[in-house]
Amino acid sequence: MGKIAIVLRRSPYGDINAAEAVRHALGGVADELSVDLILVDAGVLLAKQGQDDTETGFTNLGDTLMDCLEMGVDVYADKHSLREENMDTADIPEGIKVVTGSEIADIIKNAKTTMIY
């Protein structure tokens, strides 16, 4: 079965894109598909640690991203986007691979299907 690449370009919570990206990533691995979740632009903010959903009415998407990692989704964060958001590897959970633009291009090239959020 071919790989699925899910690209998240938008920051979490302001709109549904981040929630849908992780939902479909989890759905993919639950169906035993191979899923790459690639965080670019403001999408890298999904990986920010310490998200507190107390009394907000939201599902904690930081925790859902951790679920993705535990379930076997390969999660990547764009190095350039992390720098743009003043983040570095210390700001993101262990297990997320920091990659360059050309490495992202290779991941997408190798995927059978790409979903962009």
Binding site: Y13, G14, D15, I16, T56, G57, F58, T59
Partner: protein, 76 residues
């Protein structure tokens, strides 16, 4: 005379954060005794559809129903 808050809600309930922001502001203003109107425009009208089944996120129908009971005025 008490101040009136009029909030314009123009987006569908679960695609954006606007519904929740509107709910929270309306709830706080009602608790403080202000008059609160919500005008639903465009896709905002979907916030008031009956039979919404949303879980894991604030259910717009349930929350607005609760606020209407507290005095919220809604115009579609």
């Amino acid at each position: 005379m008490s101040k009136t808050f009029t909030l314009l809600l123009g987006t569908s309930p679960y695609s954006y954060e606007n519904t929740l922001t509107t709910v929270k502001i309306a709830e706080s203003a009602l608790n403080k005794g202000y008059t609160v109107n919500v005008i639903a425009s465009g896709d905002g009208v979907y916030c008031f559809l009956k039979g919404q089944k949303a879980k894991g996120i604030t259910n717009a129908e349930e929350k607005f129903t609760e606020l209407i009971e507290k005095g919220l005025r809604v115009y579609l």
